[in-house]
Symmetry: C2
Subunit: 298 residues, 2 copies
């Protein structure tokens, strides 16, 4: 724990990272499931318990075929538009011009805005986070066939805390598969139980780090020893299933994905929800915050 100086006041940093020159593993200091199971809960007690223990939950075919078709069409439309756009929201592959991600898609009227207000989804998210929520970040990740690149292991919270000023672990991601996930087309991998430890990473945070890190992350990356230890304890899970399936995972769950040389592309939508009681403060890096389209501040 370290005390850092902000413009407002001295503030306790419960999850210091990129401060020391050696990595360390800290205990989580926040609940995982912040709400209670009630008669209105769509998730069963068992599902909430599974999420608490493992830090993720896989819900096969949560969206039906028609819903997926609408989302896919909208994703493709945005990708086509993105090819010619110079908007900051469009992130390209590290070694090329291919569109890798599009951010802030929940601001677009239509299918993605609808997802951000989707009643069944919000029931689950608010149950887990124990309050009203808002969209902290949203994006489409395009993982094309043949040339899909890997996403290295990371805890989202590490970055959101250090670079965006998210104070506590009270957020989660929902990954929506726009195409079938096979074990061989670079599916999302999670380390069960990893959400209960916080890997304090080495290094620093360069100015405007996000401009490179969204293409390929170099800071805030967990060290090999800590990862090995986590995987030794609980292995790796990579849920697979039909388009429309979702993985909900805690903001601190270690996750990543391998490359995809198969012809089966694997595009997916990420919608990140944060508790309204966990709004962003100044970044714990002491740097200026990342832009609004990466981390909602307003």
């Amino acid at each position: 724990m370290s005390i850092i100086q902000t413009s407002d006041a001295k503030r306790v940093d419960l999850y210091p990272s990129r401060i020391n020159d050696k990595p360390s593993i800290l205990e989580r200091k926040d609940p995982v499931v912040h709400g209670e199971h009630t008669k209105d809960s769509l998730l069963s007690r068992e599902q909430l318990d599974f999420y608490e223990k493992n830090g993720y939950l896989f819900l096969e075919s949560f969206f039906n075929e028609e819903e997926v078709a609408v989302l896919s069409a909208e994703a493709n439309r945005l990708k086509e538009a993105g090819k010619k756009s110079s908007a900051d929201e469009i992130i390209r592959e590290p070694n090329g011009n291919e569109v890798r991600s599009i951010f802030a898609i929940h601001r677009e009227k239509g299918a993605f805005e609808d997802i951000s207000m989707h009643a069944r989804l919000l029931n689950i998210v608010e149950n887990i986070l124990g309050s009203s929520v808002y969209v902290h970040q949203s994006r489409i990740n395009f993982k094309p066939g043949f040339t899909g690149k890997e996403f290295y292991w990371h805890s989202d919270f590490e970055t959101w805390h250090v670079e965006d000023g998210m104070p506590r672990m009270r957020a989660l991601s929902c990954s929506i598969a726009l195409e079938e996930n096979y074990h061989y087309n670079g599916p999302l991998m999670v380390v069960p139980g990893s959400h209960k430890k916080f890997i304090s990473c080495v290094g620093q945070t360069p100015d405007d780090h996000y401009k490179e890190s969204l293409r390929k992350q170099e800071y805030g990356v967990p060290d090999h020893n800590s990862l090995t230890q986590m995987v030794e304890e609980a292995g790796i899970e990579a849920p697979t299933g039909k388009a429309g399936s979702i993985v909900i995972f805690d903001c601190n769950t270690m996750h990543g994905s391998n490359s995809n040389i198969t012809p089966k592309s694997r595009n997916n939508v990420f919608m990140v929800f944060n508790s309204v009681e966990n709004k962003l403060q100044e970044p714990f890096s002491g740097k200026k915050p990342r832009p609004e389209y990466i981390g909602t501040r307003e």
Copy 2:
């Protein structure tokens, strides 16, 4: 089919590749299983039929734990020695100095030479190839944890034919897992049935192509449409199992593997056997042959 001029005589090229500027898919003109099932066969009729149809066969725990321990120790010894070596047999990663492969390991006295003469293995290989055999190529592929790189799709035969002068499809590879293969640590993927078609690739063969292609292949690479068509027909299989398991696959089976960001390294040994009745001729590229440590000529 094209007729090319060699120093000896006009020769028919049954599998022309890197000649045209458009890819095409040709029929296989050779048997897959060249021998017969007999009372001495270690493989059952069903296994031989499976191999004929699918172009590969997975044999779990073919080598026992003690045998694997000996092979692993020898692989690590060679890797350590290779770090400081400038021998041509040592291939390094495309973006670094890490040892990616070591070739011609069957020439080393001891564990790997033993494998090349292993009685149970040779029973299977000679049964499939229908003759005595010799080692055309051998290597260890090191796929480390965290940073293991992908191997893009390819038919070995395409390269062996064009660059080494292997005339017919009468060879196979045996991949020996030195560590457990999981679905998530970049296991060998094969396209079942792909061995019955030959993808004639576009492009050419630069001089000394092997010096780069063993690090990252750019010529002799199948096109996206042909691959997509093959995968649509039969999908992708990625056998997983304990260390000591082997995958035997036809020289023309399309195969590859994804990257490996997990902490679980995936080192394996490849031993390629060719029929003595299918010895190398002059390369069909018209270029000079690759060196002896990549394709045995003597």
